[in-house]
């Protein structure tokens, strides 16, 4: 009953900004009560266990430990809270492990009892001290293990704590039974139980509140990570594009291109569950469409129905479609193109259509490679067909068909 009931938690007050590493501050991270011991240990560069042990001994010996602790608590400021958004994900949030605290309390309580309690044989003292210290170390070990898997459900932790309590009580009881006679042993065990129950009663509401705070902190951390990720993405893409748009405000075509390409990226990020690796017909058609949009400053409305894996022929039809899109972008005189691609069984069909000025197919000079070579020729070489439907003033539609291998 020494440290445990000193207080509940410190105020998350404002502290002066961090000045130096070894500055004496009450630690937020890894604290048990108010972070005094941890802070002292960090400041002095010694193991926190030693500092805590010292406080426990001081308390047991004369009660001055509590007073000293209280003085430190009041006089020493706490470390500033970590920056939530920039906080490294691996860092533990400030929290207390009240079970470790329980262990120290148990040690202190046991020592007090042995020191002040009447009728103990001198010989019983040291095994008991050893047992208590052993138990404390065990507690600490269990705690470290626990720390790695601290996402385990609350209930399980309660069970472990209960088990730990029983072990401590039973262990010390066993020592006492072995070293003192039966009548005394019984009263000691009862005293232990009473103390343990008292500690539990005092600690439970506090622990529950700590747990709730902890959960809240953890949720907040998850949220802030999501926000940070979103912010990072928006920064890398959208803000960057907006800057470029401002810089190119006079160049309408460039502004449109930037906006379109950003829109596409954002859409892909928002609505596509995961990028398809390797590439399928549908994804390649969309990629190609995007490239043509960017390169030629047109708007292409693309609709893809069905999908299939890529092979040489599928690749060929997509390339031919690309050429048709480029032609539409360059020569049709309109800024919007429709692309419809469909896979139905083994048949792959792509339509590329514009409502531009159209042209006289017969009048195309023989040296114009675009239509004859890149579209019709390519399709025929791969066993497919290409049909161009156009007339001056009627727009152009290129229909590409191929059967998959």
């Amino acid at each position: 009953m020494t440290i445990g009931d000193v207080g509940e938690r410190d105020e998350t007050g404002k502290a002066p900004p961090e000045a130096g590493r070894a500055r004496l501050e009450r630690a937020r991270r890894g604290r048990l009560v108010a972070g005094v011991c941890r802070g002292l240990a960090d400041h002095l560069g010694i193991d926190v266990l030693v500092v805590r042990g010292a406080f426990v001994l001081l308390t047991v010996a004369s009660g001055i430990g509590v007073a000293a602790y209280g003085a430190f608590w009041v006089l020493v400021g706490s470390t500033p809270p970590p920056d939530a958004v920039a906080g490294e994900s691996a860092a533990d949030p400030p929290r207390r492990d009240w079970r470790q605290l329980l262990a120290y309390t148990a040690v202190a309580a046991g020592l007090s009892m042995l020191t002040w309690g009447a009728g103990f044989a001198e010989a019983a003292l040291w095994p008991f001290v050893a047992g208590a210290i052993g138990a404390a170390i065990l507690w600490q070990q269990a705690d470290r293990d626990q720390r790695e898997r601290w996402v385990l459900p609350l209930r399980q932790r309660w069970w472990r704590t209960l088990l730990g309590l029983l072990l401590v009580v039973g262990g010390t009881g066993g020592f006492v039974v072995r070293n003192v006679d039966a009548a005394q042993a019984r009263s000691v065990v009862i005293a232990m139980l009473v103390i343990a129950t008292g500690v539990a009663v005092i600690v439970t509401p506090w622990a529950v509140r700590l747990w709730q705070d902890l959960e809240a902190e953890r949720n907040e951390r998850v949220r802030s990570q999501e926000r940070a990720e979103l912010a990072a993405h928006i920064h890398d893409s959208v803000l960057h594009t907006l800057t470029l748009i401002q810089r190119n405000a006079q160049d309408t075509a460039e502004v449109q291109r930037l906006a379109r390409s950003q829109e596409r990226t954002l859409r892909a990020w928002l609505y596509q569950p995961k990028p398809e690796e390797g590439g399928t017909f549908a994804s390649v058609v969309k990629d190609v469409t995007g490239e043509v949009e960017d390169a030629h400053g047109v708007q292409i409305e693309v609709v893809v129905v069905g999908d299939c894996p890529l092979d040489d022929r599928v690749g060929a039809i997509v390339q031919a479609a690309r050429e048709a899109m480029v032609n539409a972008a360059k020569y049709s005189g309109t800024k919007s193109v429709s692309v419809f691609a469909e896979v139905e069984g083994d048949e792959v069909t792509i339509f590329v259509r514009d409502r531009g000025k159209g042209f006289d197919l017969e009048g195309v000079p023989a040296d114009r490679m675009g239509v004859r070579g890149s579209i019709i020729g390519r399709m025929e070489r791969n066993g497919g067909t290409a049909t161009v439907r156009t007339a001056p003033g009627e727009g152009t539609e290129v229909r590409l068909e191929i059967t998959r291998q």
Partner: protein
């Protein structure tokens, strides 16, 4: 299309900037009788003004366009046209099945939008190329035995019409291409809309996750 009184339209979108843009695009071709920025506002405004057509954003604070449809179903004579930037199939299919008579993307031009409003006001359906693509995908020939063939399959003719819509053809062009009247095209599209709204094809209920979007 109609020379007579202007269509009375309510504009529902949570972006003021976008509403202003649409109003500018539409100019004087329709009468904007109300605007709303979230679900509650939309329900109140539509109840109060009973417009011919509601231009309904798919994504809205308070439950989305689908929530507006759900609350108003059967209680107002207004017709709904969904308007969205979303490419997500479940959003689009969701509002159409919720009762919207069509879906267009926000990139649509002013005259096209006016045309779409007219068509919806007259009880026809409006399919953007993208929606046509969704439907073709959802009703793709499959071996799954259908519970109700009348609703669970689309006819070859309807498929032809949808393909042409997906290819970027206007109704007039489709009519010319298929040697049918514009009215017949509209009938086909409305029939597809009905199937889309009523069919229980499992693709429609849980397809979005399995399919690529767009």
């Amino acid at each position: 299309m109609s020379e007579s009184p202007l269509r009375r339209v309510v504009l529902v979108d949570d972006h003021q900037m976008f509403r202003t843009g649409v109003k500018a695009e539409l100019g004087g071709s329709v009468e904007i009788v109300g605007e709303a920025g979230d679900v509650d506002e939309a329900v109140a405004v539509i109840r109060a003004t009973t417009p011919d057509v509601v231009l309904l954003d798919v994504h809205l604070p308070g439950g989305g366009g689908i929530e507006v449809l759900r609350r108003l179903t059967g209680s107002v004579p207004s017709r709904f046209l969904a308007l969205s930037v979303s490419d997500a199939a479940e959003d689009v299919i969701g509002v159409v099945r919720g009762g919207a008579r069509g879906y267009v993307t926000k990139t649509i031009s002013g005259p096209e939008l006016t045309d779409a409003i007219d068509r919806v006001a007259e009880g026809d359906a409006v399919f953007s190329p993208r929606l046509a693509g969704f439907v073709l995908d959802a009703f793709a020939a499959s071996d799954v035995p259908s519970v109700d063939p009348e609703l669970d399959q689309i006819t070859q003719r309807e498929r032809d019409v949808l393909r042409l819509i997906a290819r970027g053809y206007a109704y007039k062009e489709i009519a010319k291409e298929l040697f049918i009247s514009v009215k017949t095209v509209e009938t086909h599209v409305s029939s597809v809309l009905r199937k889309l709204q009523l069919s229980n094809r499992h693709e429609l209920s849980r397809w979005a996750a399995a399919r690529r979007l767009v």
